[in-house]
């Protein structure tokens, strides 16, 4: 059995696969300040689900921002994400991933090989953190932003350049009488606009897979599909694919 551990800026994910590369179990929770402990707790949780001991684990690979906390093998989340999606969708050509503080677009070759990638730099606008701040400003949960956005035909104009300024824009839009639905839609479109710039850097070739926590947000999915003019494939659980890739790399490198 092999474990993939993805310690992200917001969420930590652990995936267990068997020798035949079948997904056996997974678990995730907020990373919090103690990334390593969170990861250890999740590992125990996953092992507990299938009732096996740590001795049965032949290899672990860590990825994500907390990967250095973890002793042993580590790969960047780009390599892991590509490997995971290459396994789930061998025909995929592009991955759009929006996580807690990162958004990235990966151009895929054969067998999940990374041909090119682009990532947001210096700024977390358009990432999961951006949505989190906006949901607080709207006083709704993260998921609700998507549901609200779907209800509106019009979108408030939200700048996609800076999270802090965008929050003030949300507040001033609301005070000017814009509906929460229109503001929610504006937020989703801001994320899509930001992501589209990244996507154009490496080029969008279908099939395109959308991963990361933000792929669970139906409002962003709709806005991004419209902006890019493509249909996005969304994995069953879009948050664990990099951890899956890490587990696959553990199997290949053990």
């Amino acid at each position: 059995m092999y474990l993939g551990v993805d310690i992200g800026s917001l969420t930590t994910k652990v995936v267990l696969i068997d020798r035949e590369k079948n997904l056996i179990a997974y678990s995730y929770s907020k990373t919090g300040p103690a990334g390593k402990e969170t990861a250890e707790r999740l590992i125990q949780e996953v092992l507990g689900k299938v009732d096996i001991s740590r001795d049965n684990i032949q290899g672990i690979v860590a990825t994500g921002y907390g990967r250095v906390l973890f002793s042993g093998k580590e790969f960047s989340e780009i390599t892991c994400q590509a490997r995971g999606i290459g396994h789930l969708y061998p025909e995929a050509k592009t991955i759009i991933d929006i996580g807690g503080q990162d958004s990235k677009v990966i151009s895929l070759g054969k067998n999940g090989r990374v041909l090119d990638f682009a990532m947001n730099d210096k700024c977390a606008a358009g990432t999961g953190r951006f949505l989190e701040v906006m949901s607080q400003a709207l006083e709704v949960s993260l998921e609700e932003i998507g549901l609200l956005a779907e209800k509106s035909q019009e979108a408030a104009k939200i700048s996609s350049v800076c999270t802090v300024f965008a929050e003030s824009e949300v507040i001033s839009n609301l005070s000017r009488g814009q509906s929460r639905e229109a503001v929610a839609r504006g937020i989703c479109e801001a994320v899509a606009a930001r992501t589209a710039i990244l996507a154009q850097k490496v080029g969008v070739v279908e099939p395109v897979v959308f991963t990361g926590g933000v792929a669970k947000n139906t409002g962003v999915v709709a806005a991004l599909e419209q902006k890019l003019g493509v249909k996005l494939i969304i994995p069953e659980d879009s948050t664990i694919t990099a951890a899956l890739g890490a587990a696959l790399l553990a199997a290949e490198n053990s």
């Binding site: 790969f75 960047s76 990374v114 990532m119 210096k122």
Partner: protein, 404 residues
């Protein structure tokens, strides 16, 4: 992972001494030479310094000083001094480090540069230098001499060279008036000869990197570039690079690699991340990645052509790569990749240096499409570490190296 794979050249010690001497001399010569009318000049890195040298002047380079501020990690505080006076965060950090050092010399390397008596600027490297030097001219109330080079698309045309040559000729006349002495043409020829000998050595040192494994890493070139810039056209510089050449040649003959276990060969584009000389570039070295060549220090590997000196200088300084179009820059990078058998390239999108950075994304795209050689862009700044987020940058570097 913290293995010491980095092996600086022994010559670096000598380089430190040479630079220290240069700055000491620059500081005390004016005081000692006051009675002989000694003048201090500040000059941009792309200006025809040979002319000043022919007048017996050892000018000072604020850009080199900026690099020193960067490597010593004092740039952010000096930049803040300039920002407090209203200069924008987006302005070149060499300019801001220099301005900051004028207004806060106590916190600056060598307690700041010696006060200049004249300024020479050439806009072949960027437009910012013009405004920077205008500020200096106002600040010190001293003359500013400008050489204006037209931006070259395609090949430089004779009329463009003529236009610059005329200005150099005029500058010579102005300097004669300023220094109250005649330009010694023989001395000018001698300076040009020395500059060319040094350039030949620099080229030779760089060419050793074509071998596998490479005996020289681009960081060696960065570290030892100083004398090439500030002492161009002198015996001190030539003799120093003879020594560097011999050391690299010895490494090559003994099969000593610059980076232990060379796995990847990369090309670097843009000014170095000066405050990351060890941590940032060390990250590559630890993973067996050596930078075999770069466009930045390659800027000093260009000979001054033969012929009438003003025209020859004009041709050289107008043709510098930063004054050329996208096509030229792309072809240059492509030929580096081929000649040095590189597996990839890393471009530093340098917040300070717009002229250098704006075209990178397009060059990267074109090269990746035409040759399939992968390229990575990292966002940072040459000296202002406030614009560098290490975790994010190294994360991308790791992903890039894994994909090679």
């Amino acid at each position: 992972m913290a293995k010491k794979i980095f092996k600086p050249l022994k010559a670096s010690e000598k380089m430190n001494k040479i630079l220290k001497n240069h700055y000491l001399k620059a500081k005390y010569l004016p005081a000692l030479g006051k009675f002989f009318g000694y003048k201090t000049a500040w000059i941009t890195s792309g200006a025809p310094v040979e002319l000043l040298r022919a007048f017996g002047i050892e000018p000072v380079y604020p850009e080199n000083y900026g690099a020193i501020c960067g490597a010593r990690k004092v740039s952010p505080s000096l930049c803040q001094v300039a920002e407090n006076r209203g200069y924008s965060l987006d302005l070149c950090s060499y300019a801001k480090s220099n301005l900051g050092s004028i207004w806060n010399p106590k916190e600056s390397p060598f307690n700041g540069l010696p006060r200049p008596d004249l300024l020479v600027v050439c806009n072949n490297i960027c437009g910012t230098v013009l405004k920077w030097y205008e500020t200096l001219s106002r600040e010190f109330n001293i003359p500013l001499f400008i050489i204006d080079t037209p931006f070259i698309t395609g090949e430089p045309q004779p009329w463009q060279i003529q236009y610059v040559a005329k200005q150099i000729e005029k500058l010579a006349i102005e300097l004669e008036k300023f220094f109250r002495k005649k330009l010694d043409l023989n001395r000018l020829e001698k300076v040009i000869l020395l500059a060319n000998e040094t350039v030949d050595l620099w080229k030779g040192i760089r060419n050793f990197a074509k071998n596998k494994p490479s005996p020289v890493n681009v960081t060696d070139l960065f570290i030892n570039l100083g004398p090439m810039v500030v002492l161009r056209g002198t015996e001190v510089a030539r003799d120093f690079y003879e020594e560097v050449y011999r050391e690299v040649e010895e490494r090559y003959k003994a099969g000593i690699p610059a980076v232990e276990g060379e796995k990847y060969r990369l090309v670097w584009d843009n000014i170095p991340i000066w405050y990351g000389l060890y941590r940032f570039y060390g990250y590559f070295a630890e993973r067996g990645a050596v930078f075999v060549t770069d466009s930045y220090t390659g800027g000093w590997a260009v000979n001054i052509k033969k012929g009438p000196p003003f025209y020859a200088l004009a041709e050289t300084y107008t043709g510098v790569f930063l004054n050329r179009d996208l096509e030229f820059r792309k072809n240059q990078l492509q030929s580096f990749i081929e000649e040095f058998s590189a597996d990839g390239f890393v471009m530093h999108s340098n917040r300070s240096c717009k002229a250098y950075s704006f075209v990178q994304e397009e060059i990267r795209r074109q090269i990746m499409r035409s040759s399939g050689v992968p390229g990575l862009i990292v966002d940072a700044d040459m000296t202002d570490s406030r614009l560098y987020s290490e975790e994010t940058v190294l994360n991308r570097v790791q992903a890039f190296l894994e994909s090679l």
